[in-house]
Symmetry: C2
Subunit: 665 residues, 2 copies
Amino acid sequence: MGSSQKLNSDLAKERRKCTFSSLELTHLLDGGPRKTADRKAREKFFLEDPELRDRVPSEYLSHKEKYEEAIRKACLIFKKVQQLQEEGKGGMDNFREILGGQLGSAILGDGNPLTLHFVMFIPTIIGQGTFEQQGEWIQKAWNCNIIGTYAQTELGHGTFIRGLETTATYDVKSEEFILNSPSLTAYKWWPGGLGHSANYAVVVAQLYTQGQCHGIHPFIVQLRDQETHNPLPGIKIGEIGCKLGMNGTNNGYLGFENVRIPRSSLLMKNNKVLPDGTYVSSPSSKLTYGTMIFVRVVLVQDAATYLKKSVTIATRYSAVRRQCEMKPGEPETQILDYVTQQHKLFPNIATCFAFQYAANWIWDVYNDVSSQLETGKLDNLPELHATTCVLKSVSTADAALGVETCRLACGGHGYMTASNLPSTYGLVTAMCTYEGENTVLLLQTARFLIKMWQNQTNLSNLPTVRYLRTALDQKTPFQKNVEWIILVLQKTSASKIQLANSHINERIRKGQCSEEAWNNTSIELVEAADVHGRTFIVERFYESVKKTNVTPELRLVLDQLVQLYAVTQALKLSGYLLRFAELSGKDIESLQIWLEELLIAIRPNAVGLVDSFDFRDEVLASALGAYDGNVYERLFKAAQQSPLNAEPVNNSFNLYLKPFMKSNL
Amino acid sequence: MGSSQKLNSDLAKERRKCTFSSLELTHLLDGGPRKTADRKAREKFFLEDPELRDRVPSEYLSHKEKYEEAIRKACLIFKKVQQLQEEGKGGMDNFREILGGQLGSAILGDGNPLTLHFVMFIPTIIGQGTFEQQGEWIQKAWNCNIIGTYAQTELGHGTFIRGLETTATYDVKSEEFILNSPSLTAYKWWPGGLGHSANYAVVVAQLYTQGQCHGIHPFIVQLRDQETHNPLPGIKIGEIGCKLGMNGTNNGYLGFENVRIPRSSLLMKNNKVLPDGTYVSSPSSKLTYGTMIFVRVVLVQDAATYLKKSVTIATRYSAVRRQCEMKPGEPETQILDYVTQQHKLFPNIATCFAFQYAANWIWDVYNDVSSQLETGKLDNLPELHATTCVLKSVSTADAALGVETCRLACGGHGYMTASNLPSTYGLVTAMCTYEGENTVLLLQTARFLIKMWQNQTNLSNLPTVRYLRTALDQKTPFQKNVEWIILVLQKTSASKIQLANSHINERIRKGQCSEEAWNNTSIELVEAADVHGRTFIVERFYESVKKTNVTPELRLVLDQLVQLYAVTQALKLSGYLLRFAELSGKDIESLQIWLEELLIAIRPNAVGLVDSFDFRDEVLASALGAYDGNVYERLFKAAQQSPLNAEPVNNSFNLYLKPFMKSNL
């Protein structure tokens, strides 16, 4: 998209109005000017490679063509990452950092069929393989002489992995495991790249030896011939079909019929089967928790990124789009001047920052706890687990809702693929389900919260729940500051946990078993965990910004964003605040006025704020969101790329339409 | 999909548990056994025609192939409708009734490129053409010798139709209008079928004659040659490209460069241009309101239908899907037994009925008011307009949210195209934008409400706002019945309107002009209209069920649904209820307990309720939702239809993957 076109005058005016330096904020978000420069260099390296551009926009291709194009690009991307590695500019080991979120989806907007090779296959071998196994596999995998994926989920089993059906039965005679899918629901289903791309996989299966089941274990399994790529005997494999999004990821299915693999295929860092079939278990199985938590930590960052993209598109478009005369006879109004439009967009801008700070914080905590784990200290693991569960759940749910709000705020044009908002929604909403379904995760956090509520002795060592001890006793008369909102939210959160706990106890008293009581209280438990998570995000956002060292101009704007996020959350939860924190109707009205003031305050900086996210046009990939604001020219140009528009008359006229129109003459 | 497969045992058990007759409820929803039979005959007539089945599931086709397949089917559908007409079984004039909602989307899941011919083109000629013009065009259009569409929206203009830029300038010498698109933003953009399908269109343009602009008028314009289908000189036409959904509708763009059309092309029922260029206006322009209101009335019904489909799919799937042991050692639990899952689904089941009754009611009112209009009585038009605006807005927004909730409640499998939930969402969310953007519509309702609030003298003749006079004075101590919830909601709604009104006045007092004051109060205005709409839907649902004549078994269940809808709305609005209707925290807790009781009460009838919607499997088009519940078999079978699975090794292996994998050996 050419920089030759001139800037839309409304956008230019918006940028002149901005009261702070977008560049300063970009550096802050990236972690410093040096990191900004590195990012930009990487983006240039990938995005200016003509081989990585679409020949035809992928939405016009058939499903099969999309896959073929995805493989073509995925190989090129890997090649380039290897090149970076050789040049000492990062590489495969920070594959996610290089291509996660923004850059990867700019090149392969609908998913990369080979991602799991680096994100799951290699890390699992490193995490769960012995040194010998690592020696055997890692170099080949690293060089991409083999391509692997990670096959856990089955057609009938997702959340409850202990229920997986695939069996690996040890045959002592041949010293092999025999893999089987005892039913249709046992078929592996969903793994990315499994359909037609990978030739190896880590397969999770129930291990049987000496007539006993020892639960699920990971096995490394060859799926396809390395020369011909034909499925090996007994391997039933294919792709699972079209999805709402991620149609480039080649999600696959996999069934086994007496597939024999050597004993050494079991990844044996933690548990072993000896040649004679003896099962030897190691106690350190908690360590396998790590990967799961890691992925959820990363998803908080991804949620922020998708929302940033969408709100950039919608905010720029709203500055360019004019509709209706606010006063008769005046020129049509920029839709960004409608307060209802500001109310859709500005809280989402604030949310991007709130999630970004939450993501930074949880990343640091994750690294701390991981180092502790290496030394055998497990104390902080339950809190980290509970916190990642709720952060993943709240951030992905709100990001999905926010992306959709942005899309709808762009009216009809937001419905067009060329806006890139539909595809972004397809990607972000998937996060609500994968790596732990959101409701399931909230209930896990709730379980932790209830436990902490019931036993408050150790709370002082647990920063995320420390407030439970004192929150109920706080007096909270209205004050127009974020500290007050945090206190009020904490009191509300503690009350919700207290109430849910009392309802569980009541049900048990009435004769329900604890599982029934839990299930029957689960609506309130989910709500309690959600409020806890939001409270925590507000507090983290407030504390992080307070510590940030920036110019006074930028500080003012960051403070406004903290306030806007806090006020929005308080209003969203106003039903609870009135009930549990003794707020009055007048207090809610004060919050509403505060909200409206903040929208006015942020209005002149709205475009500057989204500019600070510093997305290249290729990353936004949106006719509505490009930096130059030439919305209509870009929409029109995008339409011209439709293969249907290459011919004035489509063949279906002669085949169907004309005979039909003539038939009643 | 064969009926030969046996029924899933969990679903069979659910059906045995049902306490009422699904068939009785089906008849009630259809409007009697006779109407059920007619519907079923129509469904059989269309859906059992092998020519109307997909050869390859359309999601695997390219965009161009999808269009060609859509045209093929659309011609066949029209042929069959003509056949029905000849047999006296309904026809073109109740085209929407025959194919709207369920049946049409079962045949053309992603939209019909010819729909606007019957839904907009012909009705506009009838509504706005003189008898002569009708004589000239209707027969040809009726026989489909010409195919038309309706071109109003432009690239830069949607909501604000007075701002349309396309010009039709009368040239007195040739007695012709000259059509022009003075800018890119003047291009028509969005009309269905405009891209490559229609050869005529009603075009809305600014009429200039004798040097004066007379505002927008409809013209009938030939776009393409009737023999060759080539665009006529000066016509710049094509399709607008891919969208989130409705990729079969062939939405198009259209630009004019000095296109001359005869004077008689102006549809002159209301306004004329004489041969000498004199403009003659008629006073009855309010009548053109009718079509717009009609479409919104129909959308309420469509919203209900989409939600019914989705909740059928999700409820049946939730009865079949088992995940996790609720108690250790027990078999995995049907996910329908998790209270959080019930909370996602059952309120949406209740919402289907609430919207259905609202749709029936507004349809009757629409017909009454239309008859009044014919006799020149316009009194009830503003109320009807305000009511359709808010009903369209609330029903489409909640249906979209409900469909998405159902999709997410199906976990990963809900993300698959084979679930049909993604496509359903694509269709239902579009309704939030088209035919009046929801926020814009809520503000129109708010304008009516504020007017009524300010002048309460005539309220007694206006059934939807009558409550405004007395609601604030009601005493509303908690009672566990729906009448109480209605009173509380009415009090809240009146308070919200009162508060918004006072904020407008306050802002005007402080010196803002009325437009600014309106804009600055618009968040609260939108909220007020939304609460008014929900209040109204609860009340209509309650009153309608009360009047319904059914068996006691069914009455019990309908009453539970009314309660569930009312309680859910009350809890959703609890922040307002606490503020404006003096509810206490204890009252909210009582509502929560009531909600939980209702979920338990409805649980045994959940499958029976969705069965009563009586969707054929072809209409649901969902591997997860079929009547027999063979979820996994159907998912697997659907995957086998992917063209990628037709070959064990995709060509991209030899082209890209193998060379890449060997390159680092």
